[in-house]
Symmetry: C2
Subunit: 342 residues, 2 copies
């Protein structure tokens, strides 16, 4: 048995993350010493996954206040706000990033002194990280009730330990069900263009002995047609409380439409911090990434010179395609979320 | 303006094909000198596309009789049948392969002498090749009536000049509409695992100045949701006349389900020789290719050691998802095919 995967942690005055760009071939850790390094790590997807980048943002802000050598409480607060702006601009879609930044800024605002501010920010960042694992285990418990012995489960992208501090959301549900002794086969769709399914999800599951088969994204409906997929579980980068729309990795919508066509339950697993109670679906910015990610795989070019391409990183699944939303607080239908507004 | 693409042709005692494994980076021709070399070229997908492999099979048989130095008419016929068995076993799904082999064997059966057999087989192979281009142009004419100025058309895999002797089926429709002055934008889905969309379709269209954008397979529904795709056109490896099921490259079914969900016409363009009047859908063998195609892209491995995978090369789209089937003889609804049995 191997140790549990921990994606990100705080060490005295620096942060350590798994460099996910090198997986599954190399498990390397990256030392992050400043909020600017953290912003780059988020932008370049050394760390990715909505809950993980929330924690990374919080720890990035903690680095900003720890590194700020001098000045008053006011100057430190100014520095923190600058760092928050930099980190906020890295990736526009996952709401956890903004949620974590707001939470840090809020505790910082209550600080009485420079030292108090430092302490409060660092403690809050650590708290957000620790909560994440607990939340995921709760999601696992709640979601595992929807999983039956013998289920063959499609998952997309990586909503696993690597997308969180540890344990995972969609893969947390699968882990819990597996640990309960349920016999489960996972189909991991590779998730072009960045291949998080092929690179990360299979790596995580093989490591723990959970049966997994890799497929290309376009094979999912073939398997559904043959009765080879009985459930779909994915994570979420943002869930719109008002309407129940689910923003998640590009390709999620396609799986949801196919699942609907074949009458297969489509389950979303995410922490409450992924629920956006403020915005409507029209206000969601879908990140457009460099088309190089589509034109190349690693450094192999797969398309002719001069070709145009698009590269939206996320898509939006409407509530009528979503069977359940599993959070640490309970399992909801998408239309029930609007009643939960706090 | 560049010359028209010709995928395969006969030269005195050998055949020349474009080696499609090297596209889009290199346009190289491969000399095929024996039926065994042709069988390998088909199996390894140096030449691919249902109509093209039909022609390749016929020319492979022509090589078999041209190369057979001695013997009686009976010995030559025996040799031809052996060659037919070898070529028949290369790829199980596309029906054109079997159709072309049967057509060659049928004319060979009528031959009066050894020399007559040689001549008849070679002539029939050349005839199949020449017919292919004419058929495609007819498909283009018939199909272009379904295309409007301003259409944004999704196509999957490559059903272009490279999938035929020249001109193409699905891309033949697009070529004709483009030549008629209709303003068309093509979205080419990359078509994992072999990437025929990224490698071949974009190459063909860029070469002729037809606007094209490359997407990953899982981006199609995102575009449909936003109204950015107004038609889907694909080729076919086999169409089941009895029921109207369409067997085509893996990923076709997914696009068809998404198109249905967003109420977008789903059009199949194929020669009459792709229609299977003999078998039912349950009798179709879906080729399972080496999982290396999923685990590697070129020589870059994208998944961890020891991972399991599947690699079905085709899927089956049910008739309720198909709007039109365009052939050289006319445009049909899938349920109309059974009335065409000859």
């Amino acid at each position: 048995m191997v140790g549990e995967i921990r994606t990100i942690w705080w060490e005295k005055n620096h942060v350590v993350i798994i460099d996910q760009r090198l997986l599954p071939h190399k498990l390397r850790y990256l030392k992050i010493r400043s909020y600017r390094e953290m912003a780059r790590a988020i932008k370049e997807m050394a760390i990715r996954g909505a809950p993980a980048i929330g924690v990374a943002a919080a720890m990035g802000l903690a680095l900003a206040v720890v590194n700020a050598k001098t000045g008053s409480r006011e100057l430190l607060m100014k520095r923190l706000r600058e760092a928050a702006e930099t980190i906020r601009s890295t990736r526009p879609t996952a709401v956890n990033l903004f949620w974590a930044i707001d939470r840090i800024l809020s505790v910082a605002g209550e600080a009485q002194s420079k030292d108090d501010l430092r302490e409060k920010v660092v403690n809050e960042a650590l708290k957000i990280a620790e909560e994440d694992i607990e939340v995921n285990k709760k999601i696992g418990e709640n979601g595992s009730r929807l999983i039956n012995d013998g289920d063959k489960i499609l998952t997309h992208c990586n909503a696993g330990a690597l997308a969180t501090v540890g344990y995972g959301t969609a893969l947390g549900v699968i882990r819990t069900a597996h640990n309960q002794g349920k016999n489960i086969l996972v189909y991991a769709s590779e998730t072009r263009p960045r291949l998080q399914g092929a690179r990360l999800t299979t790596w995580e599951l093989i490591r723990e002995g959970i049966p997994v088969k890799l497929i290309t994204d376009n094979m999912a409906s073939f398997l559904m047609q043959r009765g080879e997929i009985t459930k779909v579980i994915v994570g979420a980068d943002r869930i719109i409380a008002k309407t129940g729309h689910v923003v998640n990795k590009i390709g999620t919508l396609t799986h949801a439409i196919s699942a609907k066509y074949y009458n297969i339950p489509f389950i979303v697993a995410a922490p409450f911090s992924s629920i956006d109670f403020k915005h409507s679906v029209d206000e969601v910015v879908i990140e457009e990434r460099n088309i190089r990610e589509v034109l190349y795989i690693d450094n192999v070019r797969i398309a002719p010179k001069g070709v145009e391409a698009i590269n939206p990183a996320f898509d939006i699944t409407p509530p009528e395609l979503v069977s359940y939303i599993v959070t640490e607080k309970g399992v909801y239908k998408p239309e029930e979320l609007k009643e939960l507004a706090h």
